[in-house]
Amino acid sequence: MQTINERPSPDTKPRVDSLVDVLPFNDRIPRHDGEVAFDHAWEIRAFAMTVALHERLGFPWEEFQAELIGAIERWEAAQSDLAQWSYYERWLAALEELARGKGWVTGDELDSRTREILDQPSTKDHHHAVRDPVAIVPAGRDA
């Protein structure tokens, strides 16, 4: 039986923390009570994807670091207001560069899949309100 509430092993978080610690513009990483935090679900998926790729495929973390620095520099070169950039938007740009460089995806594949996803209403499968309980286990059934 699949364990539902599996938690990461205790050594995982320090390991991930140490990957975050060496990233550029560290003071710009959004945090909540000192912990790495995210405003949107896609941000944590982009983050988790990158760390998982690093751990599973074994490419050096420095390669992502370098892509992130490059992505931030490209943004700075194109913009006048240098203070206004979003860390995870740059993160995603860096991940895309890395994935293209590694030959995991092409730009065209990404563009067309993105369009497909945008064209699909996110709630198409489950729209209507369900106003009654879907199951009731009465009290004292086995008592």
């Binding site: 995210f38 896609w42 994807m49 998982a52 499968d125 199951a135 086995d142």
Partner: protein
Amino acid sequence: MTSTHEKIQPVEGLAKHSDEELAARAKAMESILVEKGIIGSDAIDYMSSVYENEVGPQLGAQVVAKAWTDPEFKQRLLADATEACKELGFSGMQGEEMTALENTDDVHHLVVCTLCSCYPWPVLGLPPNWYKYPAYRARAVRDPRGVMKEFGLDLPDSVEVRVWDSSAELRYFVLPQRPAGTDGWTEEQLAALVTRDAMIGVGDVRHPEG
């Protein structure tokens, strides 16, 4: 949603990417990598669980603590959770309704999305990975008491369990019972006792020590 759009910055001098577009790009990347077998979605889920409690607005604990200390707010919350949550200063998701389900000595509520992962994001932040797993979606309906036991919640047999299906139009969250031994506590102290799992209904709130 305008407030989140304003935060998004242009990519390489191109047109502004909205949050929706960024979400779609991240999803596109993930689906292609998984399809090609470069990485498994379980590996991504695992890494996202490291910080999953740090995502999103997470106003739920505040909402619950206020309901515990302010009976009039509680009434408004149970009557119309969407409106009551706005009082605490978030605009919520447009066109989507939320309902708070009050646990009592006799009835315990459990929330699931049987088809996908509909979830009251403005109140609870990011859904935990298990919320979208088929194992949870099916078993929460078939064997809710068994699921709760796995999360360490062993309800007395005298309690009726009701399972509610969140959808895109109507999302549920649970108003747990205030734990004993917290008389005179401030809202802030109480909010620290409220767990995400308690607001989904799979877990209990924290209890004061001693």
